[in-house]
Amino acid sequence: MFRQSLDWTVEMTTIPSTAAAIADAVRSGVLKATDVLEAHLERIAEREGEIHAFNLVTTDEARAAASRIDADVAAGRDPGVLAGVPIAIKDNMCTRGIATTCSSKILEGWRPPYDATVVQRLAAAGAVTIGKTNLDEFAMGSSTENSAFGVTYNPRDITRVSGGSSGGSAAAVAAGFSPISIGSDTGGSIRQPAALCGVVGVKPTYGTVSRYGLVAFASSLDQVGPFSTDVRDSALVLEAISGHDPMDSTSIPQGPLSLQGVLSQGVEGLRVGRITDMPGGADPDVTERLEAAFDALQAAGAIMVDVQMPSMKYGLTAYYLIAPAEASSNLARYDGVRYGMRVNAPDTNAMYSATRSAGFGDEVKRRIMLGTYALSAGYYDAYYGKALKVRRLISEDFDRAYTKADVLLTPTSPIVAFPVGAKSDDPLAMYLCDVYTIPTNLAGHPAMSVPFGTGAFGLPVGVQIMAPTLGEQTMFRVAASLERSMIASGGG
């Protein structure tokens, strides 16, 4: 596993690299949240210039929050399970009074009057938000090159992309700017950058984490989840942010996930599925790591089974009709009137037009056009309607597969991090990056990427673990097992 030691020393005190260890130390008074924060701010000062993980570093607000945590501890109050842990938030989640841009010019200057539920829950658990991370504009992309504010570079190799759309959040964790971060995943936007940056990234079951305050891209697919350096930290964050939210009608009416307790359970007897008719195209260095993962799980006592997913190959096409269709509706509100940027023009219609022309980037415009077309009278049945049928077929494929297997394993991304600019002019090549991650979004299932060694150029490779609805516990047991095997083999 490509894994740096991120522990370092501040004034004779070692700052641990994981959120769990930091929170333990802060809660027990061994470490001050303010010291933890300053150490991370220093890291940011050192490398942010070459990586550009953030759209905004909220130094003042973070210092104030860390001081409150320290005051709580001093007063004998428990600040929560993420006490004093710096966290980076993808810049498509609303933060009260703090600019939220979606990396789009069209939202320039907008400060939401409310916090996303996830942001509220993180603060309530004692986490300290250190900034808003860069993304592909409105989360549309797989490389964080579609940001209006510039590319986020991969901390493992700054000539390469960080993946996307949550590239800033993945890079922030990979660079040690924060031990954990939050992203959103509509078609792979957490898992793919996690794989490319060599960190853990989780897309939980649709409805386990509230979408309230997540600026919508494709509402039926969007789901919020964590990045971390190890499996346990993602479990810890998910426990803190999951659970029913009355502000989100699609939120599953149940309590928070319980995950940390299952990490040590192992995979003895678990059935791990290999998709025999998986769409091809993964590079050999990537499939080699997938095979290694199967071997490692088998060695740990898991049973390998073959499953078929005959409709999986249509997933990408269906996704690129459904997601743009929803996006065309979700993004129609950005008109320059009530918030965000405005380009003045002689009359109202010209103002709308000029604002949108200047405010949206090419990829966003492309998807708005595509989605509007797919939903139009006369085309609906042939495009959007057919895509919904494919979506059902893929769900049925999964249902059948999960009668044979408890989890399915695939590569997260067919390729390792590619050079900046390599796919910028070829949207279809870029879309192929998500071929393995999209099906779970269409089905609403959980999936996560865990780093599992390196491929070409010594770049990280991620393995994707998929599970049925609310199968997070099984998924995390498999993830923890893979992580243990990497550490045992010296890859950690």
Partner: protein, 493 residues
Amino acid sequence: MTQFDMSKNEIKVAPNDGSYLLDGYELVCGLEVHVELATATKLFSASANRFGDEPNTHIDPVTLGLPGALPVLNRQAVELAMRIGLALNCTVQASTFHRKNYFYPDMPKAYQISQYDQPINVNGWLELPSGKSIGIERAHLEEDTGKSTHVGGAGGRIHGSAHSLIDFNRAGVPLVEIVGRPDIATPDEARQYVTELRQILVAIGASDAKMEEGSMRCDANVSVRKPGAPLGIRCEIKNVNSVRSLGRAIEYEARRQIVLLEAGEKIRQETRHWDETDGRTHTLRSKEDADDYRYFLEPDLVPLDPDAAWIEAVRAALPMLPRERRNRLAQATGVASDAESIMVIVERGQDDYVLAVGLAGGDVGRALVHVKEAFAEQGFNPAVPAGDLAGMIILETGGKLTSTQAKTVLGELVAHGGGDATAIAAAKGFEALDNSALEAIVDQVIAAQSESWAKYCGGEEKAMGALVGAIMKASQGKADGKAVTALLQAKRS
């Protein structure tokens, strides 16, 4: 006066000449009625649902469609929608919400959340007071838009205005759209339908249903055809703001279409705007200009599937509907259920009161008349205790008060919010004129006016007037006209 302007496929017919049905055409009309529900909060957020407050005071991230905000369905709105459906004999079913995408400044999300192919209520009917049934296709939930005010343009229209103001207090207010089947055959039936619907909505507490304030809005789909012919091309009439205008607009539109057809022209399917000032409808947009709403299932909401127990609880809690109340009152009074007095009393909600007067011993028929005449300003719960009105009616029917005196006493009761009718009558000097005293006066007058009496006995009915007048004068107005007439007739035979 009819002007043709064929270049615009437009014809101007003089308004209100009262001859809307020409040459054997028949009218086919269906109404779409939007009602604002009387909920405490909005359809998808916790902001207050209140009319008439300072602009933009009942707003929140959901109402304003701010990025990241999500709708959560209001349970009370669902319950009121079910009440409407059940009161209109609909089937309440599992339903879904769609996004109706269109761009307009007072729609902050650029889509309206509305029920589309699976509405909550389907297949009902509304019975008019005449007994005719008008079918209800569906009654579905949707959200209202904000309210635009265009400043500087002619007549408040957006065209030519200098700027526009938007009030989002109304945005997200819950609406139920009640889509009637095209079963309405006359403008009067349309008026009856809306009047009856309004009464039902008020009775079940679903809406205050005020057309003038916009909490009830009515669009009319109008076409004409020769009897037995296939349905004609329809036009949708908007901006009808009162029951009276509704009748006028339908009548005008039917005549406009008939004149066009008679001139050999085709009707163009379009949306037309009713102009109250010139009494005409005008083209708003043609079918070709209609928006493509790109409906799709609202991914931010889950299907709505009220269980049978909830539906039955709502059904059981429905109050008595106006039609049943009219029948009940008609039965108690012996008056026809669609008589004006019955209609008026039930519309005012004073039928329980009238029946209470009956229970207190007063004649229900007299109570119906008195309440209708004297209680127009009172609500469903008049200030005069039912027992007090019953006391007055007992005096009246017992011959202790003439009808003129009864009216005077009633006026006192209303003015003071009740009182003892006997005491009021005594204070006014309306002491009883018993039958023997009346008979003595009658005999005196017959003797004094022997000429008139002879004529009356000879069959000249007009002569009775002079006799009655003299008797009333002699009794100083205390005699009851009916009793006098009866006595004269008895003495003649």
